[in-house]
């Protein structure tokens, strides 16, 4: 499963190229000159201390924040160029939030149908069938008529994953998908994510679940103060980290 970039380069074009990406809030430079490529089937884990810019990176990638510099090239097109339809681009890049953000006014099923019908213009029947299939896949089929506030956090997050999958995204972004969950429901969400990774879904996962980063991803980025401070295979980052900050971060993690 572990592909490395050299292998890719000779084969195919990346889905996403992040090039000299920067983001500042006022004078606060949160991201500095980030660059990396994402290829089909990559599962990239992003780790790093709180405040290092992990969320901002994901939010810039699907344009919930507007980067202040650099380029985001999706299938060869710079989506930051004027005239590019950001809304359309977003429908190809799914996002799973720490706080789920399921639509509170809609049932579980409708949460997975509404985007298909309104954004992708699928027929309601077709959208419903696909939503049912995906909800079954994440184990939420028995809850199709429930409202988000009637189900647990882990269940909501699984629905949120199904909602994102319903758009047939090329890339799924996860921003600490299990951080807001009760410990006993973390496993069910990680299991779903692991399944997706095994099926070849391209994923960029910000997480403090080190076991997931080590076992499931093919690349790990360690972020520190707005830059990718060290990157490599899970074996490299967890087995043989090169930089002092990475070593310190991982050590702190083992202690807690």
């Amino acid at each position: 499963m572990a592909n490395n970039n050299n292998e890719h380069n000779s084969r195919s074009q990346p889905i996403l190229q992040i090039d000299h990406l920067s983001k500042a809030f006022g004078n606060n430079k949160v991201l500095n000159d980030i660059h990396f490529d994402v290829y089909q089937g990559d599962v990239i884990s992003v780790i790093g201390a709180s405040g290092s810019g992990k969320s901002t990176l994901l939010r810039c990638i699907n344009l919930l924040e507007t980067p202040t510099g650099g380029e985001i090239i999706y299938k060869g097109v710079n989506v930051l160029a004027p005239g590019v339809n950001a809304t359309k681009y977003r429908s190809h890049v799914g996002m799973v939030f720490q706080s789920f953000n399921l639509f509170k006014n809609l049932t579980v099923l409708e949460n997975c149908v509404v985007g298909q019908v309104r954004v992708l213009k699928r027929s309601r029947d077709q959208a419903k069938q696909y939503a049912l299939e995906l909800l079954d896949k994440v184990g939420m089929a028995p809850y199709i008529d429930a409202k988000p506030r009637q189900i647990s956090g882990g269940q909501q997050q699984r629905v949120a994953i199904a909602r994102a999958l319903a758009m047939d995204p090329d890339l799924l972004l996860f921003d600490e998908p299990t951080s807001a969950l009760d410990p006993e429901t973390v496993g069910e969400v990680l299991a779903v994510m692991k399944n997706l990774a095994n099926e070849g879904m391209t994923m960029l996962v910000v997480s403090h679940e080190m076991a997931f980063a080590r076992d499931v991803s093919n690349q790990v980025f360690f972020m520190n103060e707005g830059v990718i401070h060290e990157s490599g295979t899970p074996e490299e980052i967890f087995g043989n980290p090169k930089r002092q900050e990475t070593i310190d971060f991982l050590a702190r993690f083992r202690n807690t």
């Binding site: 996002m95 789920f100 309104r118 079954d136 809850y143």
Partner: protein
């Protein structure tokens, strides 16, 4: 006690002669209040949506200018209609139209004029409520919608407004009840509402107090019944706190035995089955 008997007698006398006038008045009041509240809500929602179209410094200048202009116009509208009495607004609009058009146009129907005035007035109040309702929705809802590629309009209509509507249900109800009472000022342009019935009935025989008693009872009945119904609707919108799995038990069983078919084959049958058996 003699006074009370007298009052009953006078009321009976009035009712015998003017009962249908009062009833028609109540009917007009209710229709005006309902229609104007509904249109006012639509105006309020339109203003709320236009008012919350996001823009950033990066957007082109014309877009920013138009959006800014929309906000200023709505602001003026809201301030003008909340800051003046509705009775005056009625006179202003009713006589203003023929005046400024040199008698080319005037209101042929007192209904149209009244609905217009009360709707615009209600809209000014609702615009603020809706804006507040939209702003109070968790920003995560908007981000969730954006993340699946919805635009502002789709986000508003599918996600934000339904939630805002639920949140401002009490204010909508409040506005309706205020309209039931305050449409009484429309008599200044000759609208035949419930209060106008009082003026014609008591003007004929000077039974002011008995007629006012009928009016008090009539208005109070309408507003009390309305609040009761509105509270029932609010309760219903709230829904249950927990989800019963009972109806879906058969699904749990199906889920285990079912092998992933291609999109739209066996699933089609299955979802039809669900529609038949479920719910």
């Amino acid at each position: 006690m003699g006074k009370f008997a007298q009052l009953i007698q006078d009321i009976e006398k009035l009712w015998d002669k003017f009962g249908d006038v009062y009833l028609r008045g109540i009917r007009s009041t209710l229709i005006l209040a309902l229609v104007a509240t509904a249109i006012g809500c639509l105006i309020g929602f339109a203003c709320g949506v236009l008012n919350t179209i996001p823009y950033t410094k990066k957007d082109p200048l014309p877009k920013r200018f138009v959006l800014k202009l929309i906000r200023v116009v709505i602001r003026i509208y809201v301030e003008v209609f909340r800051g003046t009495p509705m009775m005056l607004q009625a006179v202003f609009i009713f006589y203003g139209l023929p005046y400024v058009t040199n008698l080319q146009h005037r209101f042929d129907s007192i209904w149209v004029a009244s609905i217009l005035v009360v709707s615009i007035n209600t809209g000014a109040y609702m615009a603020e409520s809706v804006r507040g309702g939209i702003i109070s929705i968790d920003p995560g809802q908007t981000e969730g919608a954006k993340a699946i590629g919805m635009n502002h309009f789709q986000t508003m209509t599918s996600v934000i407004l339904p939630q805002a509507l639920r949140n401002i249900m009490p204010q909508i109800g409040n506005n309706f009840i205020i309209n039931v009472k305050d449409t009484s000022v429309m008599f200044v342009i000759g609208f035949p509402d419930f209060f106008a019935a009082h003026r014609s009935a008591s003007g004929a025989n000077y039974l002011f107090f008995p007629s006012a008693t009928i009016e008090m009872i009539g208005y109070l009945t309408v507003t009390l019944v309305s609040s009761f119904i509105l509270r029932r609707i609010e309760k219903k919108l709230e829904g249950d706190a927990s989800y019963e799995l009972a109806a879906a038990d058969q699904l749990v069983m199906v889920a285990g035995t079912y092998r992933h078919p291609g999109k739209g084959e066996h699933l089609a049958e299955r979802s039809k089955e669900l529609e038949r058996d479920g719910k």
